[in-house]
């Protein structure tokens, strides 16, 4: 490996093929690579297979545009700003998206196994649930567990007896090793070192688990700066293949110490996501109606973004109104 290659957002999205298997950084409505997802919609990516430790607004943007065929996860929604993942739900109910449900910690076990090069990770969490009901293995029902796709495990999970301490039965969760990890990062160094602010979610594991990694960073900084505190970095340059520097790339999701979640924007999107027609209208305005992310942020306007800007000490905006009082 050498240093990661610098690309524009359009170039980076151009690397993704229809049918590719993707994972993303972030948590629900925080540090999602939304600019990348918008551009995937613009470029008309199809039949994507997503594994997400949890979904969020970006998932709904992709699902609403019909980009998603397979979705393995545990949750999709917009936190306080939109109860459900309407587009994924519609996809599941109408049969256009094949959904495979795991629990949140089972998803973590899967990405952790992938990160560590292990075929599985044991867990005793969420036993005795319908997640494990063999009748509800949707990938199997779709004929996807025949080994023809090396990225899809032969079984949704396995159960084995603990032979080491005789503690009983325990689950084995299959690794996830996607084709791509699409990572929105707080900072990337000029040699590719990656840092996340506040908490790191499962971003380090997601990077390690993927075959290729694209980092979309809010800013690039000298690697020597990040290396002054190496205990705070989550990935080294040799783990990163491509770097895109794109300010506001997580909007409308939040990016700690840069900007807060744009609650109004998400609420508005959530309303739009409730039908194909209203989604399309929304996408016409916010995705297809702008040429690129620079036009998108210009359309949002300075004052809107200024309001979202994080307080530099607290890491979140102190000027947005959040509640009813």
């Amino acid at each position: 490996m050498g240093k990661p290659q610098r690309l524009t957002l359009k170039e980076a999205v151009g690397l993704i093929n229809d049918g590719d298997f993707l994972t993303f950084s972030g948590f629900t409505i925080w540090r999602r690579p939304v600019a990348f997802c918008y551009e995937m919609v613009r470029q008309g990516k199809k039949d994507l297979h997503l594994f997400e430790v949890n979904g969020g607004t970006h998932t709904e943007i992709l699902a609403g545009a019909g980009c998603v065929k397979l979705w393995e996860s545990c949750w999709v929604g917009h936190e306080l700003y939109g109860k459900l993942g309407e587009a994924v739900a519609r996809g599941q109910v109408e049969g256009t998206i094949i959904v495979e449900d795991y629990s949140h910690a089972q998803c973590v076990a899967r990405i952790l196994a992938g990160a560590y090069g292990l075929p599985f990770m044991p867990t005793a969490l969420s036993m005795g649930t319908d997640i494990l009901n063999p009748k509800f293995d949707n990938f199997k029902k779709a004929g996807l567990r025949d080994g023809s796709d090396p990225k899809i495990p032969l079984k949704k999970y396995d159960i084995i007896h603990d032979s080491l301490y005789d503690k009983g039965e325990i689950l084995l969760m299959p690794a996830v090793n996607a084709d791509w990890a699409i990572i929105y990062a707080s900072q990337v160094g000029d040699e590719g070192t990656v840092r996340m602010f506040a908490h790191s979610y499962v971003d380090a594991e997601t990077i390690k688990a993927a075959d290729k990694v694209i980092v979309i960073a809010e800013e690039m900084v000298p690697d020597s700066y990040l290396r002054q505190e190496p205990d705070r970095n989550i990935a080294a340059g040799h783990a990163i293949d491509y770097v895109v520097v794109q300010p506001w790339a997580a909007h409308p999701t939040g990016s700690q110490y840069f900007y807060d979640v744009d609650a109004d924007f998400i609420r508005n999107f959530y309303q739009a996501s409730k039908s194909k027609e209203s989604y399309d209208k929304w996408a016409q305005e916010w995705i297809f109606g702008v040429a690129d992310h620079e036009e998108y942020v210009e359309k949002l306007g300075v004052n809107r973004l200024t309001k979202l800007k994080a307080n530099s000490v607290l890491g979140y905006s102190t000027s947005v109104k959040r509640g009813t009082r």
Binding site: W75, E79, S103, A105, A124, L125, M127, G128, A198, Q256
Partner: protein, 266 residues
């Protein structure tokens, strides 16, 4: 000192206060977004200053200056003891066995405490999809005690939930799917299970068979009213009486310290 009970409070206030009372000082609590946050935060500023709160996105014992709107919120990391990620919270804390109490919500629950947050109808051809499990079943399966905070509606308290997202006291043992006691499924991994369900009408607990019963009924309701708001045949014979009302201090803390912006409270 006699307690100074509030006379003017809303259903959601009592719900938060009753839930907060489930926290013992020093408990390690794993809480989800929403009312569970209000409950643990109220407990910390009221009677349980040494309770530790874990949010699944990665923070341990944070001391948010402003109420987080999500467990992934940067507000959760303020003055935390640890800020890491989900591997730390789910495996390094929860699966490790540190967690005394889980605070969760749910869309539907059955008499065994099985909770559904996934679909309405047959999972293979659902009529509606909810958000999905999130960390609900994980926390519920490994906390020593779990408290569910829910809205009391007849359609939400069912004989059997459509889909067992989160495991109660009688659960299927796979691959056969035979219903057995939770202990049989978890073996030596058994930590505990649902200990209470708190709604806007009452506090529910579970008997030795793992069946839900009404423990106390909130002021203004009768046990029969609660029973009428369940689709299953709720045992109200063990009802101890009225749920203790919120005190003036608790309501004050709730509105002035915990959620002054009105994020979860009206």
């Amino acid at each position: 000192m006699a307690k100074n009970y509030a006379t003017d409070y809303k259903g959601v206030d009592l719900l938060a206060v009753a839930a907060a009372r489930e926290v013992n000082d020093g408990d390690v609590v794993f809480a989800g977004t929403g009312l569970p946050m209000l409950a643990i935060l109220l407990a910390q500023v009221n009677h349980a200053p040494n309770a530790v709160c874990i949010y699944e996105a990665g923070t341990v014992d944070g001391r948010a200056l402003d109420l987080p709107t999500s467990v992934g919120d940067s507000r959760c990391a303020w003055q935390a003891s640890i800020a890491a990620g989900l591997t730390e919270t789910f495996y390094g804390q929860l699966h490790c066995g540190y967690v005394d109490l889980g605070f969760l919500g749910g869309a539907e629950i059955d008499k065994y405490g099985n909770v559904n947050t996934t679909v309405v109808g047959d999972y293979s051809a659902p009529s509606k999809r909810f958000t999905g499990s999130g960390g609900n079943p994980d926390i519920n399966s490994y906390a020593k005690r779990t408290v569910f905070i829910m809205v009391q509606e007849k359609r939400r308290f069912k004989e059997h939930v459509d889909y067992i997202t989160s495991p109660g006291w009688r659960i299927p043992k796979w691959p056969s799917g035979e219903y057995v006691h939770r202990r049989e499924v978890y073996g030596k991994f058994y930590q505990g299970g649902p200990s209470a369900v708190i709604t806007n009408m009452g506090v529910f607990r579970f008997d030795d068979e793992g069946i839900m019963y009404l423990d106390t009924v909130h002021p203004g309701f009768t046990a029969e009213q609660v029973k009428d708001n369940c689709l299953f045949d709720l045992n109200i014979s063990r009802c101890k009486g009225e749920t203790e009302r919120p005190t003036v201090e608790e309501i004050d803390l709730l509105y002035k310290r915990v959620d002054p912006e009105g994020i979860f409270l009206p």
